[in-house]
Amino acid sequence: MAAPIILLGAGQASASCAAKLRALGYDGKLTIVGEEPAAPYQRPPLSKKYVSGELAVERLFIRPLSWYGEQQIDLRLESHAVALDPAAHLLTLADGSKLPYSKLLLATGSTPRSLPSEIGGRLGNVFTIRNLADADAIAPALKPGAKLLVIGGGYIGLEAAAVAAQKGLTVTVIEMAERILQRVAAAPTSDFFRALHQSHGVTIRESTGLAELLGADNRLTGARLKDGTIIPADLAIVGIGIIPNDALARDAGLAVEGGILVDGQCRTSDPDIFAAGDCAVFAWRGARTRLESVQNAIDQGEHAAACLLGAAPDYDPKPWFWSDQYDVKLQIAGLNRGYDSTVLRPGKRPLSQSIWYFQGDKLIAIDAMNDALAYALGKKALEAGRSPDRAALADPASDLKTVLA
């Protein structure tokens, strides 16, 4: 009897891959191995409606628990893989068990970057947001009147800031770069969200470095900034990026470079080992690419399923992403990497606008704020490879459908 296909990691990529394997007719043994106690669940709501208490935990699960049994998927939770032997096709778990596989998908995800313990990174009430346990730990600390310090003005930090501000906390966001969202968005998008947060009473401090977190009795009391200022804080949320979980692959001798290297077939440097999701890095449009998004986890996970069963066309992602902050929905289509200009198009509703990213004359991405039509039509244009005329695009009186036709 053939050894099972093992999907390592019990997140969105594995869940999508498993469902796709069955949908494609694979009826052999299938095992999902994950470290967390929970079956695969949606992570995006953790920093939004889940941590705010609006969404119950049951509604995070990607599939009901019964589905795994019905699909004859052996779901092994709280299982930590410690070694991988590609030559022997063996995965070793922390409890010593050795799992043989015919093919293996590494969908090990990523880990939030944390602050070093020398500068207070391990103090109590200093949080990162990646998994259910993180959100469950933060939720009770979000008390009205408490002082929250958010370190890092990226999407996750800003989402947490929005939830906290709405709960009546006093929120300060510090960002080392010149502007919030600098790594992921153009200045007009940063400007929009800075103003939005400020209108909700959040203090945004850019070009501001952290010197150290301060504590007493192992609990956070505040932070000292690089300019010497002391900010008092009851809790801190650190959102300074994620690190792909590629150590197991590296130790097994697989090619790893800022993530687990895969080809268009999701294949690593070992022919029977594949990777997908946050942990995988692949060549796309002439550059090494690692996409940190649920879109990529789902699509690459599904793509990996086809590749595990045979050949498929090369993975060609259609990136999209979203963020909810207060009453603003940001929707992003495309990848703005390498843009050289942007066009701002005012929207038709309050707090609505879209930013269109160009590389030369080619449209490469869109940030749409409370403007689903711009997002939807822009996404369609991107996928069809159409680029609009900029002057027409910037004219709020123009009809977007005509401009993008």
């Binding site: 649920v294 979203w322 929905k329 689903a372």
Partner: protein, 105 residues
């Protein structure tokens, strides 16, 4: 709990009782309805939970909201008069017996 029926392309039917307050995208996913994906988790960003409401039920499910209407521009299957994103239809007792047609994608 209202009973909801999904009619798949090809005629197969899947029925389930859905908790009041849950949206019909999550109900479809929980009941393994093929072709209802719900990639964005129900936040109006992907249009992968597109369904056609049975015309007999149009009055009870109502019309798409403004953002939903915009998002219906990017459904994979063609948009029709009865098109809705099922994440925006919330189960109520009033919808007991609702029939949704699921396009194959």
């Amino acid at each position: 709990m209202p009973k909801i029926t999904w009619v798949l392309d090809g005629g197969r039917e899947i029925s389930a009782n859905v908790a009041v307050g849950h949206n019909l995208m999550e109900a479809a996913v929980a009941n393994n309805v093929p072709d209802v994906i719900g990639e964005c988790g129900g936040c109006l960003s992907c249009a992968t939970c597109h369904v056609y409401v049975d015309p007999a039920w149009a009055a009870k499910t109502g019309k798409p909201g403004e953002m939903e209407d915009d998002m219906l521009e990017i459904t994979t299957a063609e948009r029709r008069e009865m098109s809705r994103l099922s994440c925006q239809i919330i189960a109520t007792e009033e919808l007991d017996g609702l029939i949704l047609h699921v396009p194959h994608i």
